[in-house]
Subunit: 357 residues, 2 copies
């Protein structure tokens, strides 16, 4: 099914309104999900709606959060999301970081007591719109084993850095710190395909190509896949995200992070509140004039885009380019939804008594 | 040869003094190199001295730099290193970041016109000593190809994040953003050994296990090794380091970064000044009380250290642990130097008319 941006946006907003979100929060949460679907990151868009609703039904997501600043200096703060949707809590935190950066050059906000925040890129790009460099990261429910371990102790813990360019679109590095994001596994599961060696290990810690191995005690591997290829670096990056997002904010970390799925209960011995994020903004003109930075970033992009490649038909991809190409296409031609997602969404429509897709 | 910390420190300081460094700079530069040798990162310690001297002889390193702040807000700054040793320029920048963090919660400094800064961990740990979170990164001469390319466009561009713990030592994530650091290649070359597939490619873009392949047009691969295993993420991280360190500061970036070796000339069409760094410090108590943070980070370390492993004899390694173990051992038992390094150092002693090792 191919659906227009505006129709999917209206539908999504309606679901959030039905959960009891304010008009403002419903519009914002829908905006975050829509950017994901528009950008071709289908795993983080409206496909997540049914999961959010289930967590809300279990009272693990609060549709009417009172988001507060619990600690603050001129350029740092900790925000408590009151168990709200990460989709609205993270933008609140980023707005605060941007305000601090406007006054003092930079702003950094750690977030506790939140939930899944969609794509990190959305939040980082809020800063880019103000000619700032944006940072966004979040921890997530544990699926990844540290190097040498077969326990699931870290989430896929994405980190995002976004930079404003001039004639080119922003450079957006938005990446899970695991070898492969969980969404890629889900695609292989749906298609009945094997996955490459180096993405996952089974319960014994052996590489496996079975995308269902996580259901039998397997785990995702950190970026680098094994020690010899630098998986301790992927582990280090995942650890960095966990510490900045949760140890710093007072959220749950490591194996204590509550699961994103409603059928798994959160640990009974939490070490903090909800899941954690960390966002930041730095004014480009805190370092050099914006025009100078943008013209050099354009030069950087131009040089890398035009570099020699092994296969002349496969150019170097600038971080953020594929997502923008998808966005341009889907804004014009509509967003494709697979049947399973359409069925889930229509099930929600029925539950809330709103118009189906 | 096994040499005591104090003897190697005195020798190193003497070399820097012989180059014309001030007493203060000679002591600081020696301190940075010594921490590397003590920590077992032999590729970044005194083994680099001969290279620094050669660059100084070619007037590409200025032993008497006038390091200046060229742009500033309350929490951001750009520093010009006046072509000085990165070993003294980066600590200047980090001191400034710490001062800003003391006043406003966080401080961020981009550096241009610098040189090789030793191990990133040294600089990040300066912040940790003040109960701050430390960040340090640098770009470097181009050896790494972006995903799909066979051109060398990025350095091994390390990034470091360091966090103060309580009963445990600091957690220090200090990593090249390539699959393997260049130092590991040099070790294989010295030992006449092959390297694992996934570290380097030959001039045609094919994986090779020949550690000498860089001399015949080969290149290092980004962390992740190939697209299927996430090398676009390693490329994205290397790009992030390049942009923060150089596009933001006004240093050279990408293929324009001057080579670290004196026998290769810098590009004749520079896009900036020298190489670039980016350092930062955030006060932990800008987010939550220091004791709370440290006790939770201790809990984090403790949980990860005790996690189940595939091989019961191979525990999970906390980032920073191996370096600290080496430091403890070498402070007590001395620092091992290979013959090639001893010969290089004694050559320098002869050149400057100082006492040999």
């Amino acid at each position: 099914m191919l659906i227009s941006e505006s129709a999917l946006r209206a539908f999504t907003q309606n679901i959030f309104l039905s959960m009891g979100c304010s008009d403002e929060h419903a519009a914002l949460a829908a905006d975050v999900l829509l950017l994901s679907d528009l950008s071709g990151i289908d795993s983080h868009g409206v496909a997540r709606l049914v999961g959010y609703v289930r967590l809300w039904e279990k009272q693990r997501i609060n549709a009417k959060p009172n988001i507060t600043i619990v600690h603050e200096t001129p350029t740092t703060a900790t925000v408590d999301g009151d168990a709200g949707l990460g989709l609205v809590v993270a933008p609140f935190a980023m707005q605060l970081a941007i305000k601090k950066a406007e006054l003092y050059g930079s702003g950094w906000v750690a977030v506790r007591n939140s939930n899944h925040f969609g794509i990190a890129g959305y939040h980082a790009l809020m800063a880019v719109q103000k000619d700032m460099i944006g940072f966004a990261m979040t921890n997530a429910s544990p699926l990844v084993s540290p190097t040498f371990s077969n326990e699931r102790l870290l989430g896929t813990n994405p980190m995002c850095y976004a930079f404003p360019a001039g004639k080119y679109p922003p450079v957006v590095v938005d990446m899970a710190t695991s070898a492969a994001a969980n969404g890629k596994l889900e695609i292989a599961q749906r298609l009945g395909k094997q996955v490459p060696e180096g993405w996952i290990q089974d319960a014994n810690g052996d590489f496996t190509t079975d995308p269902h191995a996580l259901k039998t005690g397997g785990s995702l591997l950190p970026l680098g896949s094994d020690k010899e290829h630098g998986s301790h670096k992927g582990f280090g990056l995942g650890a960095t995200v966990d510490i900045l997002s949760a140890v710093l904010s007072g959220a749950n970390y490591g194996p204590w992070v509550p699961p994103f799925v409603a059928f798994l209960e959160p640990p009974t011995d939490p070490v903090g509140l909800g899941i954690g994020h960390f966002v930041g903004a730095m004014r480009v003109d805190g370092f050099r004039p914006v025009d100078e930075f943008k013209s050099h970033l354009d030069n950087w992009v131009s040089r890398f885009k035009s570099s020699t490649t092994v296969d002349p038909d496969q150019k170097v991809i600038i971080p953020g380019e594929p997502e923008l190409a998808a966005e341009t296409d889907r804004r014009k031609n509509g967003i494709p939804l697979v049947d399973a997602v359409v069925n889930d969404l229509n099930g929600l429509a029925q539950k809330f008594g709103i118009k189906k897709l």
